[in-house]
Each structure stands twice: as C-alpha cells, then as structure tokens.
Symmetry: C2
Subunit: 324 residues, 2 copies
C-alpha cells in the first residue's frame, strides 16, 4: 500500500469539508454504488453536503441504493466541491465525462481496491487486499466516528456481497465475514438487499441468457468458454446490454472451464470483452495488453473492431493465458 | 427447541461410542453431506469408527466431500452400530431404504435444522434457527473438544454456504457469518470448495437450463413462475435430473416473481415438485398439504400423477399461496 494515507487522515479531511462529490466508475456496479451510498449517508449524518455524480443511468437492480443521492449535475453545489472522491476506481479515465469536474475539487481523494490502481489524488487509500471498496468504506466510516446504521449496512452489504461473488471468490477473507457480522448487528434486512440485487431479473434477461448460451464455444481443450452478444440479439429479446451482467459466471461455471470470455457488441466497431478466471489464469494481463484492466481473475478491455475480428484476435491470447 | 438435549450431552454420547453410522437424507445436498463429512472426520480424529450410510449416488459436485467415508453397506461394522445419527433430516422416512438399519443402532440421535422436524430419537438436537445443520455440527464438534481443521472447515463451509444460498437467504444470521470467520481461521481454501460446488456444471446442464426456461409460464399476475422438466428433455440434452439443481433459483430470480415452482418428472406418474419463495409466501404449507415438507421458503412434495395433471392440480394452490 505504497503512497497510501491513513484512513484517519482521510476521515479528518472529509469531515472538515462542506461539500463532497463522489465519483463511482462508469456502469457503476454494486461495490461502486454501494460504497458511494454508504459514504454519502455517513457524511450527510455528519452535516457534510454530499452527492454522487454519475454519467450513466444506474442499473435497475441497484436503484434501491440511490436515496436521492445521485446527480448528473457537476455544478450541484453551485461552486467547486471542497473534495472530490474517486470511489472504486483508480483513475479518472474510469469516469471520462466527469473527469473535468473531478479536477475542480480543491482536494482530491481516491478510495479503491483494484490492484492495477496507482495513487493519483492528494489523498489515496488503495488496498488490493480488500474484497471490495465497501470494506474500506466501512473502516473509513468507523474512522469518521459515524454510526453504521441499517441503511448504511444495506449499502455496504450490497457493495461487499456483489464484489466477492457472495463470499465465494478468492478475494473473500476473514475480514469480509467479520464486517458482515458487524453489519448484521445493525439489524438490516439482508434478504431484502439480496432480493433487490439478484431476484430482480427481467424475463427478457432470461431469454437473452438462453440466446448467449447458444453462441457458446469451448476451446483450448475445454478450458476456455467463449460466447458473445450482439446488438441484434438485444433487439430480438428486448433485453439491454446491462442484462448480460452475471451471464459470464454461468460460462465460467462449466466443468473444466478455467476462463470464460464474453464479447459484447457496444456498437459495430466497439466490442467490450469481459473475462473471468476460475482458479489460476491471469486475465488481468490479457486485458492490460489490450489497454484494459481489472483484477487477476476478473478483467476486461475494449476492442475497436468487429465482433468476428475481436474474437479471432483475442482467442489465442486467452488460450495462452490458461496454458501458462 | 422443545424436547432437545444439549449438544454437550450428544457430544459425550458420541465420544463414548466405538462405532457411529451417519444417515444423511436421500439425494443428499451440500448441508447433509458436508455435515456428515465434518462429523465423520471429527469422530475419526477422536478414535471413533464412523461412516456415512447412503442409498443413492452422491452428486458429482459434492464428491470432494467423500474421503472414503460413504458406504452402501449397512453392515459395515460387522455388528449393529453403537449409535445411528440422522443428519439434516427429521424423520427416518427421509432415508427409506436405510430405515431398518437405522433402528438397529443401540442409541439413536437426530441432528437437524428443519422446522417441520420433531424429536423422534433417543437424543435430539433440532434447531430451526440454524441456517444449516452444518452450523449445529460446528458447535457439536467444538463441544466434543475436537479440533476444527482445514478439511473439517471445508466440509462445514460447503454445508453452510449451500443451505443459506451463499449468505443471501433469510436464514442467514450473524452466527452464520461468525462461524464462517472461525472456519477461515483454519486457512481452508474457500475458493476451491466454492469452485467444486458451483463451477462444475456439465455443459449439458447449461443446455437443459435453456430448455427448461423455454417451458416457463408466468401466472398469478406474474407472481408465480412455473416450469417443468420431463424425462424426454433429459434424454435430448444428455443431462440428468440432478442437473436441474439450482435452476429453480433462476426462475425465482425473475422480477415480480414471488414463488418459483419446478415440476420434475421422475417417471411417468411420479412428479417431484420443488417450490421456492422469494420473500413472504409460505410454500411449506402447500407442500405439507400434499404430503411433502421443507422450509417456509423452500419446500417440495411428490405427486403420483402425470405432468399435465400435476401442474393443473398444483397451480391454484401455488397462486393461492402468493395471494395470502
């Protein structure tokens, strides 16, 4: 954790502010949004004005985290924010349309757990050992002396459980379960949170999943499962690109598969590739080679080519990663 | 917990035995088998001969729990066992082909967490507040003074995580997370266990899932999702009936659905119905009315009729349960 400040320092900086603007990454996931929502509630409780600046619509199944906290207005406070905080992302390129607003902050803070992140703000806390940024935010809220109430617990549980694959991924530690214990003490409704996140799939998502499974191809001696989704498949099923979230885990869940790769057509010449490894392959390396990033076992990159080209280009690199 | 003995009493009884035979329920799930495997290891460590008597093949994804512990031979010890223990099932009807052997035990014990169970053995510990029988077995092993090592932790984690839906179901408590913390202290490999259980789907299971989703019907104003699987569908996809495990959760995961019902054709006039509720419906009541049982939000029954009759018979009862 080179170049890190202490959470105590960051807590003091945040508490001394009048206005704080939080920056989750684009296509905010449970960890990004849950961490932001928890931090917002804690700061509001301490009398600090706080909002979450977003640049794209929040996923339906995470909407319960937004209690009027999110805004598309970078000038929400009518003046430059005292503090801008990058949450769950280690570089301003992860919030491209809000980058300029971010740098208007008088003090810049970064709170993240991605191993590829490097300190770039005035105050940084990057801990790749944390299963989720939500774990760090839990400690930060405690360091601020704020009370972790039911609603904060809801948001932090959402953050943590989504990022550690419901306590099944390799990033899950004793600390992850310890924090879960402490969140349970607030009496928050775990099953409500869980249902909101996971039991909320539109029927068209189920249809899309069946379609995607139809494109599945096993290669690399059955160690790699490749599938894709095109804009046409989305039109046919009435689903949206966000509806593909989680489908990659079904691919990875096939016996013998080490890496699952899902190619998603953003537009005709822009393919987003997501990769998930099961136990040993380093997909972060593959992603980084093509200008992407992420975690060792969960990474992605964007390819400016057609779907056919993208699959042909990446297949040997992915197969190579499982044979290392 | 009326009629319960203390775990200390049961621990002493087990430790004083020379031979112990464990009885998981038919079609043993992660909790039944994980609990048995953990208890077997602990007893073997204390010098007690212990085996798990089964009557059907263990599911492939749970085979890692069986370290030579299971047997189909009711006479494995060459004499009546000192103790027979029903594990994760509250009545000998849940292990019909082994019932006779069970009653040869000089002392009978029952360790279970199903709310419909009633004390029937010489020593009983039934705790419906436990998320899994694995939680009780953890406490029992501690009460026996045995060390919870990595292999016992693996088995107990498998038991607990499968029965509490990876810490997402309403049965998950602070205690569930506390035990997870204590299991983590053994240094067991959580991701290996999790991969063995969940990342081990045969490709034909994926095909079957797509087929089953094709039969999906929403009724009761979209609050009930019904689907079915026939022997013909199994033949076509090359999948087995066990491959349907977990598919019901996909049905329940549809937005607006409160109860998912999956009808499985065992043979032409024997339909097994599994029901899962999302947040409020009591499916245990429905199951009990038709001679089945289970938990409030996860129950099932067997119907001696054709698939068409079974669906027609049960649909109004299920719709009724969501409208209560």
């Amino acid at each position: 954790m080179n170049g890190n400040n202490t959470l105590k320092e960051i807590a003091e900086v945040l508490k001394s502010a009048k206005t704080v603007l939080l920056f989750p990454h684009v296509n905010a996931d449970g960890d990004a949004l849950g961490s932001c929502a928890a931090l917002t509630r804690a700061l509001l409780g301490l009398g600090v004005q706080c909002r979450i600046l977003i640049e794209d619509k929040i996923a339906d199944n995470l909407a319960f985290l937004d209690d009027g906290f999110t805004t598309f207005d970078g000038n929400i406070f009518g003046a430059a924010p005292d503090i801008c905080v990058a949450v769950d992302n280690g570089e301003p390129d992860r919030f491209p349309k809000r980058k300029e607003v971010f740098y208007t902050g008088r003090t810049l803070v970064c709170i993240d757990h991605h191993p590829t992140s490097k300190p770039f703000a005035d105050f940084n806390y990057i801990d790749p050992a944390a299963a989720a940024t939500g774990e760090i935010v839990y400690d930060l809220i405690c360091a601020m002396g704020a009370k972790v109430d039911k609603k904060i617990a809801e948001a932090l549980f959402a953050a943590i459980t989504t990022d550690c694959g419901n306590f099944q991924y390799s990033n899950t530690t004793r600390r992850t379960f310890e924090i879960a214990c402490e969140l349970m003490d607030t009496g928050f409704n775990l099953v409500e949170v869980s249902n909101a996140i996971y039991q909320n799939n539109p029927p068209q998502r189920i249809k899309l999943e069946a379609e995607i499974m139809g494109t599945m191809e096993l290669c690399g001696d059955g160690k790699v499962a490749i599938a894709y989704v095109t804009q046409e498949m989305l039109r046919e099923t009435g689903a949206r690109l966000e509806d593909t979230d989680g489908i990659i885990n079904v691919l990875r869940g096939i016996a013998g598969v080490e890496v699952a790769a899902l190619f998603k057509e953003n537009d005709e010449h822009k393919i987003k590739l997501s990769m998930r490894a099961k136990s040993y392959a380093n997909v972060s390396e593959v992603a980084q080679e093509f200008g992407g990033g992420g975690h060792v076992r969960a990474a992605g990159c964007t390819l400016e080519m057609t779907m056919t080209e993208a699959i042909a280009t990446m297949k040997p690199h992915i197969v190579n990663a499982v044979n290392k």
